[in-house]
């Protein structure tokens, strides 16, 4: 019977093989496409960030940050229908009224955090999980809190699949930080808040840095950098991510 089946459909194995090889070819082509798109994105980010004068001592983005941006697969963190534009330098909607930030802003924020390989970082507002992944490539451990349950679950799953074992995702209210895991060398607050929660400032280590994007979901107006010095005193800096001088000519 099997032989009759084979004789009847003798072309089937060939057909299957062809389909599989086409799939494989398009998959590796896609992976290759993503990789080259990612590299183009990194070059663009590096170019955009040059001489913006975000900080007076900063001429360009840290190579470490650019390397990480070239590594993390952003297309894995965007919805299926946005995959083709995953490496465009713009924010994308990810559902629930949330966005995955503009890669340029992610790079600036990561750079501002000045994280090291031994650092422990807290992120409030996991969103897609992309920023956490970028941080996890640099820091020792990343703890991230997401308040919208389905979003948090999705990010948790994704980060696990991608093998980010040094990221812990928790679903809940980020206002009180993560006392047991702190104090932190760096904190990123991507969730909109009417003010900086006092518990987060308390959980920032001396010498630590906190970065907050201020603006709307699709447009970051400025970045807020909070620094705690060795005496525990807090100072903030408000940084424009654009190369812009508000005055023309001299006055």
């Amino acid at each position: 019977m099997l032989s009759t089946l084979f004789s009847k459909y003798k072309r089937l194995p060939c057909l299957l093989l062809a389909v599989i090889s086409i799939c494989w070819a398009s998959y590796s082509k896609a992976v290759e496409d993503y990789a080259s798109a990612r590299m183009a994105m990194v070059r663009l980010i590096a170019k955009e960030a040059k001489d913006i004068g975000l900080l007076t001592d900063m001429k360009s983005l840290d190579h470490k940050v650019l390397d990480v941006m070239a590594k993390v697969p952003r297309h894995e963190f965007v919805p299926v229908f946005s995959k083709s534009v995953a490496y465009e330098n713009r924010p994308l909607p990810i559902g629930y009224g949330q966005t995955i930030s503009q890669p340029y802003i992610v790079a600036l924020m990561t750079d501002l955090l000045k994280a090291d390989k031994d650092d422990i970082v807290l992120e409030v507002g996991t969103g897609s999980g992309y920023q956490a992944a970028v941080l996890a490539e640099i820091a020792a451990k990343v703890f991230t809190i997401e308040i919208i349950e389905p979003l948090g679950e999705k990010a948790k799953e994704k980060l696990k699949t991608l093998g980010y074992n040094n990221i812990t995702v928790r679903i809940g209210d980020g206002y009180y930080g993560w006392q047991e895991k702190g104090p932190f060398d760096g904190i990123v607050v991507t969730a909109a808040a009417s003010h900086i929660p006092p518990p987060l400032i308390q959980q920032l280590k001396k010498g630590g840095r906190m970065v907050i994007p201020v603006g709307t979901r699709f447009l970051v107006q400025h970045l807020l950098l909070v620094e705690k010095n060795e005496e525990g005193k807090v100072q903030t800096r408000q940084l424009l991510p654009v190369r812009f001088v508000p005055l023309t000519g001299k006055h």
């Binding site: 919208i148 400032i201 654009v242 812009f244 508000p246 006055h251």
Partner: protein, 818 residues
Amino acid sequence: MSKNFDSHKILPLQPPRLTISIISGTALAYEILLMRLFSIVQFHHFAYMVISLALLGFGASGTFLSIAREKLLANFQAVFLANIVLFGVAVPFCFLAAQTLQFNPEEILWTAAPFLKILLVFLLLALPFFFAASAVALALARFPQSISRIYAADLIGAGLGSIFIIVLLFLVFPDKALSLLASLILCGAGIAWWETGMKPLNRIFFFLVLATLPLAAPNNWTTPLISPYKGLAQQMLLSGSKILTERSSPLGWLTVLENKVVPFRYAPGLSLNATVIPPEQLGIFTDGDSLTVITKQLENQAGYGYLDQTTTALPYHLQKPEQILILGAGGGVDLLLAKYHQVPKIDAVELNHQLVDLVVENYGFFSGDLFKGPRVNLYTKEARGFVEKTATWYDLIQLSLLDSFSASSAGLYALSENYLYTVEAFQKYFHRLQTDGILSISRWLKLPPRDTFKLLATAVKALEKEGIPHPGQHLVLIRGWQTSTLLIKKSRITDQEIAALKRFCSERSFDVAYYPGMATSEANQFNVLREPFFYEGAQTIINDRHSDAFFDQYKFHIRPATDNTPYFFHFFKWQLLPEIIALRGQGGMALVESGYLVLVATLVQALTASLILILLPLLFLKRRLPEKETTAQGKWQIFVYFSAIGLAFLFLEIAFIQRFILFLSHPLYAVTVVLASFLIFAGFGSAFSKKIIKEGGKWSGITLPVAAMTILVIVYLLSLNTLFAQLFGLSDVLKIIVSILLIAPLAFFMGMPFPAALTRVGDSRPWLVPWAWGVNGCASVISAVLATMLAIQFGFTTVVLLALALYCVAAMTSLFMD
């Protein structure tokens, strides 16, 4: 039936004027209702754009009718009726379909992808207006001898419709109003059946049964789907969120939200040094956004200490005010701060009566009756009107920060007139201050500075106009990372106050941006900017006699806002555009107020669509018209004439609405009274125009009203301000009567040029009647958008003068029309 052009003239029918009134009334009601619904579903400025564009449905009806005039007129009754039924069906369904197309308007700044959705929304919403306008245009084309009477019915119906919908929105929620409107239109179809003499008469019942369907449908079939990007939608995603109460009026849809799991903790501008966390709060959202909170009563006053850690608390540290006025009470946060500082007498003003009702009555228990008691007087009034009328002197007047940060940061208010932040308004506040009194204004902080500088410039101008020799001696400006607070003191700032100011700021890590005698080294200490922008800008605006050059060179528009150009939130300058586009990759779009770009985009789209709608029928007509009509002769005059009067009518209407908002001191009443009066009296004018033409010859219907309008408008421009100042103390009812009396003669004449000219077109070239109607419809759409744009740039007086010029152009063109 013969296919002759004027075949319809043999039918002995009267124009269905009652039906026309109902269609126009419901169409206008629908327009206002859509504005309400889309402000809930989306954001206000987006609502403004799609609805402006949807009104092009009027223009489209003209195009459609021009092309298919003969066939449609041959079956006038059936087509007329079909349009009304389709209008009734489209009213709910087009909205329901349009609201499912969700996206964030800000995405357009990054990619053109949402554009298709916007196009679809616009086309969907244009449909109902198309059907309504087609019915009216059909009647105009069918009864050219009754044009002035049909147009009168159209205008009067629209005027009544505007009153009807405002009243209705006080009574029911907007989604319910939508079903009611659909019902009403279908009833209108029944009336049309009777009025057009359709047989058998008892079929009217079919329409009446049809009309009950929208009301009989399940209760929530028209519920608005709120955009996931709005504050309320975001809150509803959190566990523990529970809607306690909802209220709705034309002023907004209020939602009271409770969350015991993830509390609101709303405390904008809180110092980084603060250790006290805000207590339990209830959130009140207006139209699903702009949050205000009611704070729970605490046993221990220290629990309110967080309020003292915001920039708004500054004036209480310079003085111990005895009597204060809070403009914009909202949920009572500023009131709580005043109570925390034990102010003996507090007056608070809030515009929205439903909000007052919620915070005072329904949730009074929650706040420990914050608004009650001998120390507090709460007035349900418009803030500026209250200040102009009150006889009380205040130690402190506080202008609250009630708009939301996200809306402010995205520049959604760029198009909204605001009479609280103008030079004249500041002067009025100043007049109610005690000798050492302080006016305190807090705003969201933007980078690079915009609001803050404009506020400062407005204050300096107001002080100068008050004859203060050194305005800089009366001003203090501080900033946190999120908010800034400006103090304007009636007397000079003292050394003790400066010492207190420095203490207040250093304890909270706020920066001082200006006080008289401030040294450069004191600037930019805590919230460090690349350069001390705020300090330098403040110094220039306050002390530099060349601040004019600074205003010119600054890349944002920060010249003082005035009552003539009341656009405090408009900062965009055209020369900024190329730079912003170049900075796109860095997120440079955040430097523009998207509200203004939306306005520009609306105008461009309206112009393009109008051009197509106006030119299209000409191509068709060319092939089918009588021999003598093949040349363009005559059409140019019709085009210029109907465009000019379409533009001019709305220019005048919009500019006068703004004048009367200040006089009636309530935006809602002003818009309703002025709009309805304009339409109704223009309707009377239209009805009367036939008589003028009959008695005074065919030119009189145009030249006479234009002459009368010119005189009236010039008299009004010269005398209205003085008159309003004299009559401001009158009661609200008397003010409304005065307003109607002032508008009536002007509107009466404004109603004449359209029917007078259209009647003549009807006499000589009836096939061009629908085209003229379409031209006028397109011009009206463009006019509304253009009026705002011109007012932002040049002020309302210019808009009025332009309207006059346009009417004169129309009058001159009419001389060449035959």
